[in-house]
């Protein structure tokens, strides 16, 4: 149980996908103009990520190592088509807002990254926990980023006006460059707080985003 919790909770802060792993930046930059878009995108990713982790983990012993990437992509693509059709049926306005970025979940680095680094080496239950955790971390980050940009750029949050009268919205934040600047500042703040925590524990500060080998399987643990 504690292992399950550990795999679930690492996606929420320690390996938070967009800010700690710096993965999946394409949707992070493109669809976070409002909190609602960010949240919708996050939900789609939770769905795809959890199910693809489960499926990859189930078939991990059958797939030959040489064609594993192609298999992961096929699994992710089937799930994304399902999400796309579901969204068209039940959340059409959101689908129109997100546009091309829904099909692009197929090539989202987080999906492939978790399949390769975690699900293909671990039993199904752990893989589900990992997928859920990472997906929720991703949703949280996107909603937060989207909310920040929506409040500053439009003076609204989830479509409700939240600022005082006479507030002049900072339209720069709602435009494309605002996404890059906000992401950069948030990354800097995350590192700042990480270092503050390490300092309190008496450890040396670190440069740049940190993660352990659990988030990357490239060297196979060597």
């Amino acid at each position: 149980m504690s292992r399950l919790w550990k795999e679930f909770s690492k996606g929420l802060w320690k390996d938070l996908p967009p800010f700690k792993l710096v993965l999946g930046l394409c949707p992070v930059l493109a669809v976070t103009s409002t909190a609602e878009n960010g949240f919708g995108m996050g939900m789609a990713v939770i769905f795809v990520l959890t199910l693809s982790n489960l499926l990859v983990s189930l078939v991990r012993k059958i797939i030959p190592a040489k064609v594993r990437i192609a298999c992961f992509i096929v699994i992710a693509a089937s799930l994304v088509v399902a999400v796309e059709l579901l969204m068209q049926a039940y959340a059409f306005p959101l689908y129109q807002q997100l546009g091309i970025f829904v099909p692009l979940i197929v090539v989202n680095c987080i999906i492939l990254g978790r399949a390769e680094a975690f699900a293909s080496k671990n039993p199904p239950l752990l893989a589900i926990a990992d997928g859920l955790g990472m997906g929720m971390g991703f949703t949280m980050s996107l909603t937060f980023l989207g909310g920040l940009r929506e409040v500053l750029g439009h003076g609204q949050l989830f479509g409700h006006t939240v600022v005082w009268d006479g507030f002049e919205p900072l339209s720069f934040m709602a435009a494309a460059p605002g996404a890059f600047v906000t992401l950069g500042i948030l990354l800097a703040l995350m590192n700042f707080f990480t270092n503050l925590q390490r300092k309190r524990k008496g450890l040396a500060p670190v440069d740049g985003p940190t993660h352990d080998c659990g988030s990357c399987g490239v060297c196979g643990g060597r």
Binding site: E168, P169, L170, S171, F172, A175, G184, A188
Partner: protein
């Protein structure tokens, strides 16, 4: 073995050892900006003074606070923040509201300078970063045409953009030279800025190649357009004396950390900025292309810095 991909290196100047200090250089730059600031107050009244003092004060305070937050030894007494704030104020219309000035000036310092590691680390000219953020956000408050309501002066570049080359016949070059036009409050005092720029060049505080390249780029490109169709395109001298070209060439493009170091790269960098200004003015949506032209040229400066002599002894 030679690496397949060339490594792009941004090395932070200045390295010169000649008894000059950053403080003395900044003091000279401020001195060179003084006549333009005085003319701005003469033309736009206390409003101009309000914008300039607010912008400089905010810039200095913002730098001091970010020094404390980032745990650095404060170097705010080198007066660089003062020049950045004044440079930002020079690009604003005199009617800018106070919160815009405060926000833009803080952005210039924090986003344009301190985020990259303070003086010498910034890849972009700091005042232009604040200007770009503000003009993308509050186009209506940064709109120079809006200032026409309270002033009898005109904005020549907007006239040129919207009514064609026929409409600018009313502007005499002498009027433009003494700043009888609308625009960024200090940036349009072209005559005063030109004198200040010459002073800086004589004292070798800025690289001669950059303003020379930029002014040449403007004159040549605008000259070609004008020669091709004098009915449609404004003459080169008109372009040179309107908007913030002179200010950009002598004060913004020469920012030491965001411009190339050697002579030939600096000349190319200036030429690029100059050509871009006219291209943006002729084809772009912005009446005055100087800030974006210089920001784009800033981005090429690490590339241009790769043009360097062969090390002695290597064949």
């Amino acid at each position: 073995m030679k690496p397949l991909i060339p490594t792009l290196t941004v090395s932070p100047p200045p390295f010169a050892h000649c008894g000059k200090t950053v403080k003395k250089r900044m003091r000279a730059i401020l001195l060179a900006m003084l006549p333009a600031a005085a003319l701005a107050v003469y033309h736009f009244g206390m409003d101009a003074l309000r914008v300039m003092t607010l912008a400089t004060a905010t810039a200095v305070i913002a730098e001091f606070i970010s020094d404390i937050v980032m745990g650095r030894t404060s170097q705010v007494d080198d007066m660089h923040a003062f020049t950045v704030g004044l440079g930002f104020a020079f690009l604003l219309p005199a009617s800018a509201p106070w919160w815009l000035v405060v926000f833009g000036s803080t952005t210039s310092i924090v986003l344009g300078k301190m985020m990259f590691g303070g003086l010498g680390g910034s890849p972009l000219c700091a005042p232009l970063v604040g200007w770009a953020v503000c003009s993308l956000s509050w186009a209506s408050h940064m709109d120079i045409d809006a200032a026409m309501l309270t002033s009898e002066l005109n904005y020549p570049l907007s006239q040129l953009k919207h009514f064609g080359a026929q409409s600018i016949a009313g502007f005499s070059l002498n009027d433009l030279l003494v700043g009888r036009q609308l625009g960024g409050l200090g940036a349009i005092q072209t005559g005063a800025l030109f004198i200040g720029g010459i002073f800086l060049t004589m004292r070798k505080h800025i690289k001669v190649a950059i303003p020379v390249g930029m002014l040449a780029g403007v004159l040549i490109t605008a000259g070609i357009f004008h020669a091709a169709d004098p009915q449609k395109y404004a003459p080169a001298m008109f372009h040179l004396l309107t908007g913030s070209i002179i200010f950009g060439a002598f004060f913004l493009a020469t920012d030491s950390s965001s411009s190339p170091m050697r002579k030939i790269p600096a000349l190319l960098y200036g030429l690029l900025a100059g050509v871009l200004v006219i291209i943006i003015r002729v084809y772009g949506v912005y009446p005055d292309g100087v800030p974006y032209a210089i920001l784009l040229a800033n981005l090429t400066s690490p590339l241009l810095d790769r043009i360097k002599p062969k090390p002695f002894g290597r064949n």
